[in-house]
């Protein structure tokens, strides 16, 4: 059911309940003014609400009752018992209709007119008696109604209260409780991992985790509100503004059902208002101008919202004149922000983005509506502060559209966790552009005075060490090559590199505010808790950049370069270039790369053809060694993922991210290579992800593994057979009476009962089976045994 409608039903019900007592009291004493007022308010509100919806019958009824009651309130009419029962009949009818609305049914026609007629004041006894006659007739019709509808009514009697109102505080409290539970769960999970595998505990624990995740999602959803609530206030705003500016604007909404965190809705209200003002003031032309251009006299402002993943995209578009890039560019030159030469080099798109620059506006005159200097730069900063982003597309003469991307909730942001001096910090991921190793051969460090600079892929950007910013490391002592550089792009297009000791992971973190004394450092934007319950600070990058005077110096060619890449990206596939252990350049599709890890040589275990690497306590199959020897100290690994399985690929060095523009020329000689592509005119082999994962994926653990019972009293079964069975994806039944999917028996124990099992595999001692032994499998016939187990598995799934 529609959200607003649900609200309407809930509110009407609430008032019905509240006024129930009043109605009875009023019936006892029709001259009671206070009761009369309460009931009048009720019918008045119902009438008002009906205006929003298309409920002509409800409106007519409530309107009639309201009229009669207002006569009484004005003293023009004395309420009498006839009026009371007529009003009560109407209120009953409203209640029934509300039930029908909620159930989505049509309320049977007829009966309304009698009810309304009953309200007519009795001039004297005669009419009053007519009304009295009406009343019983009414009750008859009402009875008919109920009898007609007896069945559906009974059905909808139960799910009466479909929605309740709750204070937001209570929700916050529950949310906090669930967050605590998640932390407790994480703590428990760590302890369980340390204690080793315990099948009896792990199962229920996993179930608990799943339930907890579901509850958390449900609670998050409770805090959501439909965008309609935001949209509903906009038509009025647009109307007022357009009247003030002598323009005619129509609004169109799409996606009002998209849900967003309540707080987030409040946060975007101001930026949205600003965009609307701009659109009406600068974008949409006056009616005369529009007619001249062959457009419709009335301008159109469209709002479209869509959810994609954990982001909401909101597009605000007008059909006005578009952004005047020429004038914007001139203003930028006049304001001394860019030189003429710089402007000339800019693409149109880049020029349009100038409106996000502080102090630029295309409005010649400061109107009361916009152009007061609080510009799009503030809008952009506000949107980015809540973890969103803003972009625009403008076509001269056709209009402008702003694309806003917003995270679903305010308090949860996507963050990159980095390490510095043994501590972890979080960086909002929206700022992170790229991550590069300081040791990478295409990164060069330079100094200009006291300022560190780093040149990477033709861009020279200032470089700050997190250790230096935090005062834990002095700039002079820093081994820049050992650092990992996080390229940060701020709202104002400034780019700088942040040198950190390590990049850990992507994480969605819940951000909490911090104490004012800590805020004063202007380094942190908030705090968050790690999985193990330890606190971690969220860095306030714009503020750090400002304090380091980066905001206005060190302007680089970066934005322009970036823009070309954006254009290029549309038709290309991103890949990652690396040097294999043999030093030759290869590439892998970037989408496959989950992250880059550096591990010490001890974390890698090679035993014959079995190669594995241990990263953060998990074992991954290791590939790439066929090309050369690992270094003796630190090994760089690409962690590749096909979405479910992960494989690590040993590389000599990670070179660069690049765009694969041309085609891949397939190569059939080497199955590990998908083909060869041209990057910067050099042929680069691209790894074949399909072959890689086909060869190395770990057997997928099924949600509910099949169980297999093995002879309990045999050492051989326990020590040799058990592991094999587990490796085949079975769980060894712990209990002799448990219902197992497969039971393995030893032939020499033929007299032992198999126990409850769906299928039975018998193993014999001797390689050659004779006679009745033909059904059995030799106990060291590995292939035969696995085949039998596999067959049992398919037998079940089929």
């Amino acid at each position: 059911m529609d959200d607003l409608l649900a609200d309407f039903v809930a509110e009407t019900r609430e008032m019905l309940e509240a006024s129930g007592g009043e109605i009875v009291a009023w019936e006892a004493d029709p001259s009671d003014k206070a009761r009369l007022d309460t009931i009048f308010r009720f019918v008045h509100t119902v009438k008002g609400n009906c205006g929003f919806f298309d409920f002509p019958r409800l409106e007519k009824l409530s309107h009639a009752a309201e009229d009669a009651l207002s006569e009484c309130r004005a003293g023009r009419r004395e309420p009498d018992s006839a009026l009371v029962s007529a009003v009560l009949a109407i209120i009953d009818r409203i209640s029934e209709m509300t039930d029908a609305i909620e159930a989505g049914e049509d309320f049977p026609e007829g009966g309304d007119d009698q009810l309304i007629a009953a309200l007519q004041p009795g001039e004297d006894f005669e009419v009053a008696s007519a009304a009295m006659q009406d009343a019983p007739r009414e009750t008859v019709t009402a009875n008919e109604d109920t009898s007609d509808e007896a069945a559906p009514k009974a059905a909808r009697a139960n799910p009466v209260q479909r929605s309740i109102r709750l204070p937001v505080d209570l929700l916050d409290e529950v949310m906090k409780g669930v967050s605590d539970m998640v932390l407790a769960r994480n703590d428990l999970a760590r302890r369980l991992r340390e204690a080793g595998e315990q099948p009896t505990i792990d199962g229920p624990f996993d179930r608990l985790s799943t339930i907890l995740a579901d509850v958390r999602t449900a609670i998050t959803r409770m805090r959501m509100q439909r965008l309609e609530h935001l949209f509903s206030s906009l038509p009025r705003l647009v109307r007022d503004l357009s009247t003030e500016l002598g323009k005619q604007v129509m609004v169109d909404f799409e996606g009002g059902e998209v849900e967003l965190d309540r707080e987030m809705i409040e946060m975007v209200r101001d930026p949205l208002t600003h965009i609307i003002r701009n659109a009406i003031d600068h974008g949409i032309e006056g009616p005369g101008e529009r007619l001249k251009k062959g457009k419709r006299e009335i301008g159109l402002l469209r709002f479209a919202a869509r959810q994609s993943g954990n982001q909401i995209s909101l597009v605000i578009s007008d059909d006005g004149r578009g952004i005047d890039t020429v004038r914007l560019a001139e203003k930028a030159v006049a304001a001394g922000i860019y030189s003429r030469a710089e402007i000339d080099r800019m693409s149109d798109r880049r020029k349009q983005h100038l409106i996000f620059h502080a102090g630029l506006s295309t409005a010649d005159t400061v109107s009361s509506v916009s152009g007061r200097g609080v510009g799009m730069d503030v809008v952009r900063a506000n949107i980015e502060r809540v973890g969103g982003s803003i972009d625009l597309v403008s076509k001269p003469g056709e209009g402008t559209s702003f694309h806003l991307k917003l995270p679903l909730t305010l308090s949860i942001i996507a963050a990159l966790t980095v390490g510095s001096s043994g501590q972890r910090y979080a960086i909002p991921r929206s700022y992170v552009e790229e991550i590069v190793f300081g040791s990478s051969s295409n990164v060069e460090f330079a100094e200009a005075g006291e300022r560190r600079l780093v040149t990477f892929r033709g861009k020279r950007v200032p470089c700050l060490a997190l250790g230096d910013i935090l005062g834990t490391e002095a700039n002079e002592d820093i081994e820049w090559e050992d650092k990992t550089l996080v390229l940060i792009r701020l709202a104002n297009e400034e780019v700088f590199a942040l040198a950190v000791d390590r990049v850990f992971d992507h994480e969605d973190v819940v951000v909490k505010p911090i104490a004012p004394a800590v805020m004063e450092t202007r380094l942190y934007a908030g705090t968050t808790l790690l999985d193990d319950g330890r606190p971690m600070m969220l860095l306030d990058l714009p503020s750090i950049a400002t304090s380091r005077l980066l905001m206005n110096e060190g302007r680089s060619a970066a934005p322009v370069v970036e823009e070309e890449r954006v254009e290029a990206r549309r038709k290309t596939v991103p890949i990652m270039l690396f040097a294999g252990l043999d030093g030759r350049r290869r590439a892998v599709r970037l989408e496959m790369v989950r992250r880059i890890d550096t591990v010490s040589r001890e974390a890698i275990d090679i035993d014959g053809r079995r190669m594995q690497a241990v990263i953060d306590g998990s074992i991954f199959p290791l590939v790439g060694l066929e090309y050369g020897e690992l270094s003796e100290e630190r090994c760089r690994l690409l962690r590749l993922s096909d979405g479910e399985n992960e494989v690590v690929y040993a590389v000599g060095e990670v070179l660069d991210a690049a765009e694969m523009e041309g085609e891949i020329i397939p190569s059939h000689d080497d199955p590990l290579i998908e083909g060869v592509t041209l990057i910067d005119d050099a042929p680069i082999p691209v790894i074949d992800g399909h072959t890689l994962f086909a060869r190395h994926h770990a057997p997928r653990r099924t949600e509910q593994p099949l169980t297999c019972r093995i002879p309990a009293d045999s050492d051989w079964a326990r020590t040799i057979l058990g592991p094999l069975v587990e490796a085949a994806g079975y769980r060894v039944a712990s209990d002799g009476d448990e219902d197992a999917d497969v039971a393995i028996l030893l032939a020499e124990q033929a007299d032992v009962p198999a126990g409850p099992a769906r299928s039975v595999i018998r193993l014999r001692q001797e390689p050659e089976g004779v006679g009745e032994d033909a059904e059995t499998i030799y106990r060291y016939d590995r292939d035969g045994l696995l085949a039998a187990l596999k067959q049992a598995r398919f037998g079940r799934t089929a």
């Binding site: 935090l470 005062g471 505010p513 968050t528």
Partner: protein, 144 residues
């Protein structure tokens, strides 16, 4: 006047925090330092799913700190929506004040003067009543 007080030891002196301000007394074991904050802000510690700002009361008064100790006790207070853990040398019982806070001629000495509301009599003798808000503002406020 029967104000309930949490009696504690700060920089070796008897002090008291109004019990109505105190949510709980916790043991602080792990503190995550926050670089570039004033010394008296020792860092963050987690209490259930909330991060508390740990304040070293001695340093906040501008006195010598007892430094890191095992099983440090802290009083948890909430001020303007933020939670703080006030590290004290020791936390004793909750007691009753038997007098109104009064000033002492000549003051309580540097540091204490700023963050004390006055002296109160308790069963265990005269005690300084701490003004929590002044305390967490730290010694810097005074210099400014």
């Amino acid at each position: 006047m029967t104000q309930l007080l949490l009696q504690c030891l700060i920089a070796g002196r008897q002090a008291a925090i109004p019990a109505s301000d105190v949510q709980s007394v916790i043991e602080v074991d792990e503190i995550t330092p926050i670089p570039r904050t004033p010394d008296f802000i020792r860092g963050l510690t987690a209490l259930r799913s909330q991060a508390l700002t740990v304040i070293d009361c001695s340093l906040a008064l501008g006195l010598e700190s007892a430094g890191d100790q095992p099983d440090q006790r802290a009083a948890v207070v909430e001020i303007e929506g933020h939670l703080y853990a006030l590290l004290v040398d020791a936390a004793y019982d909750v007691g009753e004040a038997s007098s109104e806070p009064v000033a002492v001629p000549g003051g309580f000495g540097p540091g204490w003067q700023r963050a004390a509301r006055g002296m109160v009599e308790t069963e265990t003798g005269p005690t300084l009543l701490i003004d929590v808000e002044a305390l967490i503002a730290g010694p810097l406020e005074e210099a400014a």
